[in-house]
Amino acid sequence: MDSELAEALHTYVKSLRRYAMAMTRDSNEADDLVQECLKRALIYIHNGREIQNLRAYLFTILNNVYSDELSRKRRTGIVVSIDSETVKLTAPPCQNARMECRDLSWALNQLPAEQKEVVLLIGLEGLSYQTAAEVLNIPIGTVMSRLSRGRNALRRLLEGRIASEPPRREDNLVDLRSEARRASVA
C-alpha cells in the first residue's frame, strides 16, 4: 500500500511538472510552481486536514499558485531580458520536427488562461470533466463550454482564421487582460 502511494505520487508530480511547463513554458518557473504546490500540500496535512483526491488536490493547488503568481506579476510587473523572453516564446522543437506542433505551441499561448487550463487538464493530463470541474472550482457545464471554445479557438488559430472572425465577448475580455499583462511585463 505504501509503495502504491509513493508510485502514485511520483506519477502525479511528473504530471504536475508537465502541466506547469505547458502553462508557463519556462522550466524554472514550472519547477517553482510544483515545489510551492507540494509545500502547500504538506502544510495542509500538517494542519490536520485530510486530502480525499490527491491528484485533483495537487492540480487545484498548482492552479491556485499559478493564478496567484500571475496576479502578483500583474500588480508588480517583472523585469525580463529580451533574450530570456525570446527563449520562452520560442516553441520547443518536436522530436519529429513537425511544424504542427510548433504551431499548436504558439496557438496555445494565444488562448485565454481559463480555456488553456481546461484544454490542457483534459487533453493533456486526461482528467475527467468532473475532476477538472473540481480542480478549477467551476461547474462541469462551464468546463465543457470552455473546452469547446478553447478547442475551436485553437483550430481557428491554426487555420489562420482568427483575424477574419469577430472575437467572442469572453475572448475580448481576456484579450484585454492579456494586453494588460503584457503591458505590466514590458
Binding site: 500500500m1 505504501d2 502511494l5 509513493a6 505520487l9 511520483h10 508530480v13 511528473k14 504530471s15 511538472r17 508537465r18 511547463m21 505547458a22 522550466s27 514550472a30 519547477d31 510544483v34 515545489q35 507540494l38 509545500k39 500540500a41 504538506l42 496535512i45 500538517h46 485530510e50 486530502i51 490527491l54 516553441a91 520547443p92 518536436c94 522530436q95 519529429n96 513537425r98 504542427e100 506542433c101 499548436l104 505551441s105 496555445l108 484544454v119 490542457l120 483534459i122 487533453g123 493533456l124 475527467s128 470533466y129 457545464g141 465543457m144 463550454s145 473546452l147 469547446s148 478547442r151 475551436n152 485553437l154 483550430r155 491554426l158
Partner: protein, 266 residues
C-alpha cells in the same frame, strides 16, 4: 445523436453552430474526442459524423490537438525530477503515511468506544453471547477469517480462548480479535501498524468495569477492551507481547498492585 429537425432546417444548419440542442451535441462531440463515451454512444456519434463531413473534419482536428499536445509536452513527463522536488515528494509520502496511521488509531478508538457503549452489556452479561455474526459475503470478501487463525497469542493462562478474527478496515489495516472466557465473557483486542511517533505510547483507562489499554510492541499497536482486572490485563499483554513488556506496563496498569485484590475471572 443529432436532434431530429425538419429537413429544411437541418440542411441549412451550419455544423457546430445550430441553436437549441447545440450545447448537448457539442458536449457529446467533445466527450467523443476525449474517448469518454460508451461503445453504443460512440457508434452513434461515428454514424452521425459519417453523414456530416465538416463536423467530422472538425472532430479530427480536435483529436489531432490532443495528440500534438502529448508530442509537445510528454518529454517533460519523462524528464527526471529535480532533487529538491523529489525531496519534497518523499516528505509528502511520509506525511501521508503518518496521516493514514493516525486514521487507523481513529478507527480503533471508535471501535473501542462502540464496544464500551453498545456491546458492553454483552461482555458483562452472564448468559453466553451469540457467536459473532458473519455472512458468506464476509468470507468471500476477506472481511472475516475464521477462528483466530492470525492471532498467535495464547490467552489460555488468562482464561480466554480465541473465537474469531476479523479485519474491520483494510486501509488502514485494523484487525479485531475476539476472545471468550468459559463463562461466555468476551474481550476485544484491536491490532494495527504503529506510527513511529506512537511506538513508546501507552494509555490505560477504565470505564466502569471495563478496562481499555493501548500499547505498542515494535511496529504493532494494540488496544485491549474488556471487563478485566489489572492482573488479567497484564496476563493478556504478556501473552501478546511477552512477559518483559507486561512487567514494563505494570506500573501503569496496576500501580496499586499488592494492595488491591484482583477480581477473579468468572
Amino acid at each position: 445523436v443529432w436532434p431530429s429537425r425538419p429537413d429544411h432546417q437541418r440542411d441549412r444548419r451550419e455544423p457546430g453552430r445550430s441553436l437549441g440542442s447545440h450545447l448537448l451535441k457539442e458536449a457529446l462531440l467533445q466527450a467523443y474526442v476525449d474517448d469518454l463515451l460508451n461503445p453504443h454512444r460512440r457508434h452513434e456519434v461515428e454514424h452521425s459524423l459519417s453523414e456530416h463531413p465538416r463536423e467530422a473534419a472538425r472532430i479530427r482536428d480536435f483529436q489531432s490537438q490532443n495528440h500534438e499536445l502529448h508530442e509537445l509536452f510528454d518529454r517533460y513527463f519523462a524528464a527526471s525530477t529535480p532533487a529538491n522536488i523529489e525531496a519534497l515528494q518523499r516528505h509528502l509520502v511520509k506525511t501521508l503515511r503518518r496521516q493514514r496511521r493516525r486514521q487507523a488509531y481513529g478507527w480503533m478508538a471508535a471501535a473501542a468506544l462502540f464496544v464500551i457503549v453498545v456491546v458492553g452489556a454483552v461482555i458483562v452479561g452472564p448468559p453466553p453471547a451469540p457467536p459473532i455474526p458473519w455472512s458468506f459475503d464476509d468470507v468471500v470478501n476477506g472481511m472475516r477469517t475464521d477462528i483466530a487463525a492470525d492471532m498467535k497469542a495464547d490467552l489460555d493462562a488468562a482464561g480466554f480462548k480465541p473465537i474469531g478474527t476479523r479485519q474491520i478496515s483494510k486501509e488502514p489495516d485494523v484487525t479485531q480479535h475476539v476472545f471468550e472466557s468459559a463463562t461466555g465473557r468476551r474481550i476485544m483486542l484491536y491490532e494495527s501498524a504503529a506510527a513511529p511517533e506512537d511506538q513508546k505510547r501507552v494509555n490505560f483507562s477504565q470505564e466502569g468495569a471495563v478496562s481499555v489499554l493501548f500499547w505498542t510492541n515494535k511496529d504493532r499497536a494494540f488496544t485491549l477492551v474488556g471487563e478485566l482486572d489489572h492482573n488479567s490485563v497484564l496476563q493478556v499483554v504478556s501473552a501478546v507481547s511477552g512477559e518483559h513488556q507486561a512487567d514494563g506496563l505494570r506500573a501503569i496498569v496496576a500501580p496499586d498492585d499488592g494492595v488491591r485484590q484482583p477480581t477473579p475471572i468468572r
